[in-house]
């Protein structure tokens, strides 16, 4: 555009453009959204890379995330400390992975992290049960939940250890035609 913006240096914008799937305009717009979450905490001038992190509670109040049942897990997966405190870099990263241009493999890696509730690099039956309860608002009976979890693990588990490793998960995702369009956050 014609006007000169002073939020980022050109070098910084180049770096963002190379590291994410966003254009310069979209990165500036994301900064606007990040800023309006906490106008007193987030400075308008990012040229000297301030170390500002917003807590989980503020991020999950965004309209795009507010009703998502996995909002806490999403924000935790993209935070440095695993507690959900996002810096602007993490914020941009999160929306870049969830944008429509991110490839399937990248999205699968982060989807695996999101559904792995106890962060042990395996999706075990308890993780599945928690996922299912969040999906259906706990309105399935416990035997139905049990049945569905057993069937899901049976379908996707390839190496027979009754829990899903990343390889199992990625193999199952590769056969899902809808994954790219559903694992997509519009901002």
């Amino acid at each position: 555009m014609g006007n000169k913006q002073t939020i980022f240096t050109d070098e910084q914008l180049d770096a963002y453009q190379d590291c994410t799937f966003f254009t310069r305009k979209e990165i500036l717009r994301l900064h606007g959204r990040y800023h309006e979450l906490a106008p007193h905490l987030v400075p308008m001038d990012y040229t000297n890379e301030p170390d500002v992190k917003l807590p989980l509670a503020l991020i999950v109040n965004m309209p795009e995330l507010k009703e998502n049942p996995f909002r806490n897990r999403i924000v935790e997966s993209f935070s440095e400390d695993g507690e959900g405190n996002l810096s602007f870099n993490d914020f941009v990263d999160m929306f870049s992975v969830l944008s429509e241009m991110a490839p399937r493999e990248l999205k699968a890696i982060y989807a695996f992290k999101i559904y792995d509730f106890n962060t042990d690099n395996f999706i075990c039956k308890e993780d599945l049960e928690k996922t299912l309860n969040k999906l259906t608002r706990e309105e399935l009976t416990s035997e139905e939940v049990n049945l569905v979890c057993e069937k899901a693990i049976e379908e996707a588990d390839l190496d027979g250890d009754s829990k899903l490793s990343f390889a199992d998960f990625e193999n199952m995702i590769s056969r899902a035609p809808d994954f790219l369009s559903t694992f997509h956050l519009r901002i």
């Binding site: 770096a15 190379d18 590291c19 994410t20 799937f21 254009t23 795009e64 009703e67 998502n68 049942p69 996995f70 997966s77 993209f78 440095e80 993490d90 990263d93 991110a102 490839p103 493999e105 990248l106 890696i109 989807a111 992290k113 042990d120 690099n121 599945l128 996922t131 999906l135 259906t136 608002r137 309105e139 399935l140 139905e144 049945l147 569905v148 069937k151 899901a152 379908e155 390839l158 190496d159 027979g160 250890d161 490793s165 990343f166 390889a167 998960f169 193999n171 199952m172 590769s174 056969r175 899902a176 035609p177 809808d178 994954f179 369009s181 559903t182 694992f183 997509h184 956050l185 519009r186």
Partner: protein, 693 residues
């Protein structure tokens, strides 16, 4: 063969990953005590010499790294500092490719901004999900297709006709009239004497009267060969070739769109085995916003899971039926299918009779409006009543729920397209006098008493169908959907709440669109302005459907899978195209054109304008075209395309085999890993025991 390397061919995310073991880099994961064998391994010093050296692929690899932003920026700095020793030519090429990539990204951003209705579609997808959004995407595709068709027709047929009409520099070439054929050239479209004022309104709806002799219909175009100075423009040839190119253009657009949809399906292996895991992990649409939409989606997923469990139970029950029960079930199903077939044939007979009646009675009073619209009314009623009855019958057939949905759709598609076909066959049999004795057809080759200009009449029929379809959509919206929502919202009876708000049922709406588009394809030869009318109609329908979606509807409980359904919509559209293509080929090649109107009035067959103008080309072009049409060219071409086809088929089967081989290898590797881990544990246990002793 390294599985990771071959699976992630061309994309770097398969080569990179993250490691659970502690490193000097900050990582996002909590450290786990068990050495992490299951997560992908990260190679911090990748072997750059094995990849290509282009700058753009480095940038692409950077975007796809699953690392925090600070790490990616650090990697980028390292990459930039690594200045490879290249010649001046290569560095120039690299900087040019960088600017080109930037330019392409900016252009892509601008195009996405300009794309028609992007914000509306995002909003629809966010609130109602991918299934409903696919209907609106399909509608947008049809609007763009119709608009470009209109541009094609306007530039090659409409504008030259207007120019030559106004300049009247062309002259109608005299047709050879043999004795007894003078009656064929009589054509008087404008009504005589005083007309009542409401006739104009009727004319607007039925395409008669002042609308008949206009650019809207075939009859107005002359068979002029506009000659100005050194430039001659053969309007009949342009008319015919434009119609042919229009059909081929639509076919190419549909096939290209189908190709992109199929690519996704083939890549993911077609059959979606593994419904439960896929539903749990990919069922949630992350783009959904709004409290109501979220709750509905959760209900939806729960419903789907319960339906899947129910289907399993039904399958188990079906497998445990005795022989007698199975035979009884199958004979019941055969009987019910016969009933459905009988209903459909009954609908066809009604359409046949209605068309015959409406074509033979043409007065100009108000009741005649109903008579004129009788075929459209009967078709619409049949397409409403028969699927409803079939749904009730399907309840008795006791299929699994997914099979029931597919069967209902197939029956509805067959009914829609076949009823249109019956209408056309009736019209054609009347025009060529196959229902009565051949007496009325002898002088002119077509039924000149009923049809002074039969192409215009067919065009009018298609125009009426399109109009009535549009009026039906508007009327249903105003008279059914809005009142239903008002009743449901204000009335608190249990029964009313049970019936609930309208659901936006995607398949029926898509079939309506396909029907409208097929009517336009059939009618485009006889009514050249029909594509632009259809464009306006579809645009209005888009906004009306969007309005009714947001005000009156709730998302359907049984949703349609968006990717497989996209392919299904395009397949049905292709069937409609085939129907229209058959119609066009038959009218162009078999029926005698009207002698009193239109660009082909002097010929015995519409197609003959092409061979006639063939001789006016230069001799070298004639020789070239002769060669292309001869056996010396077409047989080697046919053989070559067979070879290419078999090569593609062999390639596809080899890919399928390698995919299944890789899957088997993946399983084996997992088992090997487990076995080795167990052995390690046993050995360490044994060594510890030995140490203790």
């Amino acid at each position: 063969m390294d599985f990771r390397g071959s699976y992630a061919e061309g994309s770097a995310a398969g080569d990179y990953g993250y490691q659970g073991a502690p490193e000097s880099l900050r990582l996002r994961q909590r450290l786990s005590a068990v050495p992490d064998q299951s997560s992908p391994q990260f190679n911090w010093n990748p072997d750059h010499t094995s990849e290509n050296e282009e700058g753009s692929s480095d940038r692409q690899n950077l975007k796809e790294l699953p690392l925090p932003m600070e790490l990616k920026k650090a990697i980028r700095q390292v990459q930039q500092m690594k200045v490879p020793v290249v010649s001046g030519w290569q560095s120039w090429r690299r900087s040019k490719s960088k600017t080109l990539k930037r330019f392409r990204e900016e252009a892509g951003g601008i195009l996405a901004y300009v794309a028609l209705w992007r914000r509306n579609l995002q909003k629809i997808g966010g609130h109602f999900g991918g299934g409903v959004q696919s209907y609106f995407l399909f509608l947008r595709f049809l609007v763009v297709l119709n608009f470009f068709s209109f541009l094609l027709i306007a530039s090659f047929v409409l504008v030259p006709s207007i120019i030559f009409h106004s300049r009247s520099s062309g002259n109608n070439s005299n047709i050879n009239i043999s004795a007894g054929q003078e009656v064929c050239t009589y054509y008087e479209p404008n009504p005589q004497g005083l007309v009542d004022f409401y006739t104009y309104f009727i004319d607007l709806l039925t395409g008669t009267g002042f609308m008949e002799y206009s650019y809207l219909f075939y009859g107005y175009y002359n068979n002029t060969e506009g000659i100005t100075n050194d430039f001659s423009y053969n309007i009949p040839l342009a008319y015919l070739l434009t119609a042919a190119f229009y059909s081929i253009f639509c076919l190419i657009c549909i096939v290209i769109r189908m190709g992109s949809v199929i690519r996704v399906t083939v890549k993911t292996g077609g059959r979606t085995v593994g419904g439960y895991s896929m539903l749990v992990f990919t069922g949630w649409d992350y783009g959904l916003q709004g409290d109501r939409a979220t709750k509905l989606k959760q209900n939806n997923i729960r419903y789907k899971l319960q339906v899947d469990l129910e289907e399993e139970r039904i399958k188990l029950k079906a497998a445990s039926l005795t022989l007698g029960q199975t035979v009884g079930l199958y004979s019941l199903r055969a009987f019910l299918n016969l009933i459905v077939l009988g209903l459909i044939i009954g609908a066809f007979i009604c359409i046949f009779l209605a068309t015959q009646f409406s074509q033979t009675n043409r007065e100009t009073d108000f009741l005649s409006l109903v008579v004129q619209y009788l075929p459209s009314i009967v078709i619409t009623l049949a397409n409403f009543v028969v699927p409803f009855l079939c749904d009730q019958i399907a309840l008795l057939e006791k299929h699994a729920p997914s099979t029931t949905i597919i069967l209902a759709l197939l029956r509805a598609v067959f009914l829609r397209l076949a009823s249109l076909g019956v209408l056309l066959i009736t019209l054609w049999s009347q025009i060529t006098c196959s229902t009565e004795d051949g007496g009325t057809c002898l002088p002119c080759g077509y039924n000149h008493t009923l049809y002074q200009c039969w192409e215009t009449r067919v065009g009018q029929e298609m125009y009426k169908l399109a109009m009535f379809d549009f009026l039906t959509v508007i009327a249903v919206m105003i008279l059914v959907e809005f009142p239903r929502r008002m009743v449901v919202d204000s009335c608190s009876w249990k029964l009313v709440k049970f019936v609930g708000r309208q659901e936006f049922v995607v398949p029926q709406n898509v079939l309506g669109l396909v029907y409208g588009q097929t009517v336009v394809w059939i009618g485009a030869l006889f009514c050249p302005l029909l594509p632009v009318i259809n464009t306006v109609k579809f645009i209005i329908i888009f906004y009306c459907k969007k309005m009714t979606l947001f005000y009156n509807c709730q998302p359907a409980n049984r949703t349609f899978r968006s990717t497989s359904s996209n392919f299904f919509f395009l397949l049905v559209l292709l069937f409609g195209w085939i129907l229209a293509a058959f119609t066009l080929i038959y009218s162009v090649a078999a029926i005698h054109p009207s002698m009193s109107c239109g660009p082909f009035r002097s010929l015995t067959m519409m197609w003959s304008v092409v061979p006639n103008s063939f001789h006016s080309l230069s001799s070298s072009t004639q020789d070239f075209l002769h060669y292309i049409g001869s056996q010396a060219f077409s047989i080697p071409l046919f053989v070559l395309s067979c070879v290419v086809l078999s090569y593609m088929a062999a390639l596809a089967s080899v890919y399928g085999q390698s995919v299944s081989l890789l899957k088997a290898q993946l399983k084996l590797e997992g088992r090997d890993k487990q076995f080795l881990v167990k052995q390690i544990e046993e050995l360490s246990l044994a060594s510890r025991k030995r140490q203790d002793c």
